[in-house]
Subunit: 174 residues, 2 copies
């Protein structure tokens, strides 16, 4: 299960400054290109599942995400990630199996580790700026919710929470 | 496209001796464990497609195979192979996507290169011994058929040709 909160912000710069003042440097900084697929069996838009191929400078992976379970603005869902080769073969296989491409989400993401939580500063092509705060895997629901609230307080993140994925936001714009 | 012939043989030992007398050593020797899946959309047994996760000592891959096109005992079909991580995540993702496990095929395979063709000596758990002769990728149909016949002659392979896959043979025994 992943527990995370996503907040739309006007600008990322004040958060970068806050992190720097706390002496926290980015753990990673990369561009992610996510290609989403829909299933031939049931519409992932209805079942609230997701399947994507993510390509970064560090590698390629196939991720399945189960239906979201809301928890007061915090998003929890099953996530399974399989590393795959970089040659486009997985994309071809999915198409042969009847999966169809639905959308592409491209973002620049800086990741920080704050009090054990993973904090991502995202600049999403066509959507704007977002902060995601995610509890470590294996943490229980209550502990995760507390940690996320604490980290949000430390960073002073102001803005509107959303449980929508970037994919859903992009599809909603069409 | 892959072009190959598969021949059931009583024993592999005479072929090993023939290859050794020609000065040809095995290019590789490994155990392959193939886990096959069926699609929730259409029965691969009817559409003549296949999807499998192959695990060897050298790595793990996901392979899609398109319908077989017979060509006088020689089998031609589309094949797409994607490298995947070794941690079982791909198997879990396929199950979440509605694919079901159908069978496991385990074999010890020695591969030789003969005149540009790939020759595999297979000992298949529960099925027996087989020789597969496969033309290199990218070769045209006629050239592939000629090469396979020539290599078969060089090795003096006697036995019954089959266009059945090991998976089909195992499913037919149930």
């Amino acid at each position: 299960m992943e527990y995370e909160v996503k907040i739309r912000v006007a600008r990322l710069e004040p958060l970068r400054a806050r992190l720097a003042s706390l002496g926290i440097r980015p753990a990673s900084s990369l561009t992610e290109r996510d290609l989403y697929f829909n299933s031939p069996v049931h519409d992932f838009g209805r079942t609230d599942e997701a399947l994507r191929i993510r390509t970064t400078g560090e590698g390629t992976s196939l991720t399945y995400k189960g239906p979201k379970q809301g928890l007061g603005g915090i998003k929890a869902r099953e996530e399974i990630i399989a590393g795959v080769g970089p040659d486009g073969a997985m994309e071809e296989i999915l198409e042969r199996l009847g999966f169809t491409r639905t959308a592409m989400v491209e973002k620049a993401r800086e990741t920080y580790l704050v009090d054990g939580a993973s904090v991502a500063l995202d600049e999403v092509k066509g959507l704007g700026s977002f902060v995601e705060i995610e509890a470590p895997r294996g943490m229980g629901a209550r502990e995760a919710v507390e940690l996320i609230a604490r980290v949000r307080g430390i960073l002073g993140v102001e803005g509107e929470e959303t449980t929508l994925s970037y994919l859903e936001m992009i599809l909603a714009r069409r």
